[in-house]
Amino acid sequence: MLTITNLQASVEGKEILKGINLTIGKGEIHAIMGPNGSGKSTLASVLAGREDYEITGGSVDFDGKDLLEMSPEERAREGVFLAFQYPVEIPGVSNTNFLKAAVNEVRKHRGLEPMEPKAFLKMMREKMALVEMDQAMVSRSVNEGFSGGEKKRNEIFQLAMLEPKLSILDETDSGLDIDALKIVSNGVNKLRSKETSTIVITHYQRLLDYIVPDFVHVLYKGRIVKSGGKELALELEAKGYDWVKELALEEVV
């Protein structure tokens, strides 16, 4: 599904990603953990196509295509979805109109006709139930006046509507209370399939109790310094990140 090879990226001349190697297969969930400032969110942004970053080296292959050559909208249409760490409030644009436009763009890219209004509404209702969103929330402007938890639920609702191949959840757990965390995780789990893959970026192990990863990677100073199974997350929880920092030092030596 996704092959990242020696990916390097910088922002305003400062190198943030210093050679990332990562392969994600179909149906897999990968967790990327790491201390603050390790480059986790940068990796998510670079994969989604945020233009503030300069790619200085490496490549990203997405289902046989060069992901880095694509505009953000092409990536979305090809099936890459970024659940934002800080979803943007867009006053005056209703969730419904926005989603209709987005869903139809993705369909057009796949050679499908725009959805009939009736079918679209039916799909909305089904996906709303998945993340326990009500009609009032969906009718409002995109994220406007939403609480932190509502914004994150809205991200997963959009994910459900757009049916991506690869979902990247960028600190979706930050700012969530335990109830919202359960709702969001439950939504993600229900959307899991053998055909889709997920990258879960998180600072804490807590989210991984609910969204159980197949692989855990530790990012530190722009490099993956350790990879393992889901038990690695528990080890990090118990030992903290200092242990990993030492590991990184050893590697350099």
């Binding site: 989604a48 196509g49 945020r50 233009e51 505009s71 953000p72 909208e73 990536r75 979305a76 249409r77 979805f81 970024l82 934002f84 979803p87 943007v88 867009i90 006053p91 005056g92 644009v93 109109n97 926005f98 209709k100 436009a101 987005a102 763009e105 993705v106 890219h109 402007s141 959009q158 757009l162």
Partner: protein
């Protein structure tokens, strides 16, 4: 410039001769004073503080005909594109300042007296004399003095106490400059009685050919008696070979509510003055404006919320989207007089510049002479929010769609203030088309 000014002075004496008996009326006495004042002041130049960014000189150095008595050759088909679709409305059509009964339709007959102002001068003399030129202070405003001098026709609407008129009044000013460049003045007087309610739409349209240019000058005086409610919408989507200088002067008694929306989509030089005097306790006034312009259009909005007494509210939001070499001017003044304690006054002006050659000059002016008031103002000018653009693109919308959607939403905050649904929908569809909006 002097030529057009002296031509106006000559035209005025021609007009006087045609007035017959009315030449001795108190109204005409005001016209004469106003003409004399205009002759003294002359057209404003950019040295005048109120005209700093709007140079009328290129407009007034042209020659214009003043054809107040001319019969119109226009047909209903000619004005059809200017009408609001799907609405039962009173439509009063003025062609080069003259009322056209043939093109007009008046359907409201209960609770309202509606007629051309020329007719009201004789039929409604007492009401006209009580209000005419009492709110639009022409003494220190050359353009207002000019309009007052040529206030021969326009709309007269008098809504009776407690009458609620459902059908809107569309005042349609056509400047027919196909034969020759024409100056078309008009003057409206709108009087709402106690508890009365009405909706008024004003629009100006210019027909041109060749190098001709139309110059239209419409002033409305509006009186809201106690607890009256008026929706006033001004729609400006004229050809670029047209110039417009106009004003709305409102006088509000206690607990009256005025809701004004000015939407400018196209034109040459467009200047709108909007003044509301909150003269009765707990009166409420709302100023909303949208200018979405391109090319070399210049839109200048000057507003004044004048709080004369206590407990009144004014709320103002003007938004601009400017492309190409267009220019926006916003001058919003809030005056809080010494007696106006407990005033609430809010003002905001927000602009998006789509091109490096577009400019906006924005100036809030607060003059506060009372101590127990809440006033705020703010203005922003900038580009579209990059974060929002990226968010939309990350969901599959291309850059153009994302931009159109954000701009449409930005404009929507103003168009949603239009309660007359067919008008709102019409404007929204024009705006959507303009923004290459593909969303339904």
């Amino acid at each position: 410039m002097v030529e057009f000014q002296s031509k106006l002075e000559q035209e005025f004496s021609l007009v006087e001769r045609s007035l017959n008996g009315q030449a001795k009326s108190p109204i005409h006495a005001i016209r004469k004073q106003a003409m004399a004042r205009f002759a003294e002041l002359g057209f404003p130049t950019i040295r005048h503080e109120e005209w700093k960014y709007t140079n009328l000189m290129p407009i007034v150095k042209q020659d214009y005909a003043l054809t107040l008595q001319a019969a119109s050759s226009l047909t209903k088909a000619d004005i059809e594109p200017f009408l609001i679709p799907d609405v039962e409305a009173n439509v009063l059509v003025f062609v080069n300042g003259s009322y056209s009964a043939a093109l007009s339709t008046i359907i409201s007959d209960k609770g309202v007296e509606v007629m051309p102002l020329a007719e009201a001068f004789t039929k409604k003399t007492a009401v006209v004399e009580k209000h005419f030129a009492q709110y639009a202070a022409w003494q220190n405003d050359a353009m207002l003095a000019l309009n007052t001098a040529f206030s021969l026709n326009g709309a007269y609407i008098e809504v009776a106490n407690s009458a609620v008129i459902e059908e809107p009044f569309h005042l349609l000013f056509v400047n027919d400059s196909r034969q020759q460049s024409t100056f078309a003045p008009a003057r409206n007087l709108i009087v709402l009685g106690v508890n009365a309610e009405a909706t008024i739409v004003e629009s100006a349209h210019t027909l041109v050919s060749g190098e001709n240019v139309g110059f239209t000058n419409v002033v409305s005086e509006v009186v809201l008696a106690e607890n009256a409610r008026l929706q006033h919408y001004k729609i400006q989507n004229d050809v670029t070979q047209s110039h417009f200088v106009g004003a709305l002067h409102a006088h509000q008694e206690a607990t009256s509510i005025l809701n004004t929306v000015v939407v400018t989509l196209s034109g040459g030089i467009v200047r709108n003055n909007l003044n509301a005097v909150l003269a009765g306790k707990a009166a409420d006034t709302h100023f909303y404006g949208l200018y979405l312009v391109n090319g070399k259009t210049l839109v200048d909005n000057h507003t004044l919320a004048d709080h004369a007494v206590a407990h009144c509210t004014s709320n103002e939001l003007y938004k601009g989207i400017m492309d190409d070499r267009s220019t926006g001017v916003f001058n919003g003044k809030i005056m809080v007089r010494p007696d106006a304690q407990k005033t609430l006054a809010y003002q905001s002006n927000r602009n998006i510049l789509m091109s490096p050659n577009a400019t906006v000059n924005t100036k809030p002016q607060l003059e506060i002479f009372a101590d127990d008031v809440k006033c705020s103002h703010g203005c922003t000018s900038g580009q579209l929010d990059d974060e929002a653009l990226f968010y939309l693109r990350a969901r599959g919308l291309d850059r153009e769609q994302a931009r159109a959607l954000l701009l449409y939403a930005f404009a929507g905050e103003i168009t949603e203030k239009i309660e007359l649904e067919p008008l709102r929908e019409r404007l929204e569809s024009i705006i959507a088309e303009r923004l290459h909006q593909e969303l339904v």
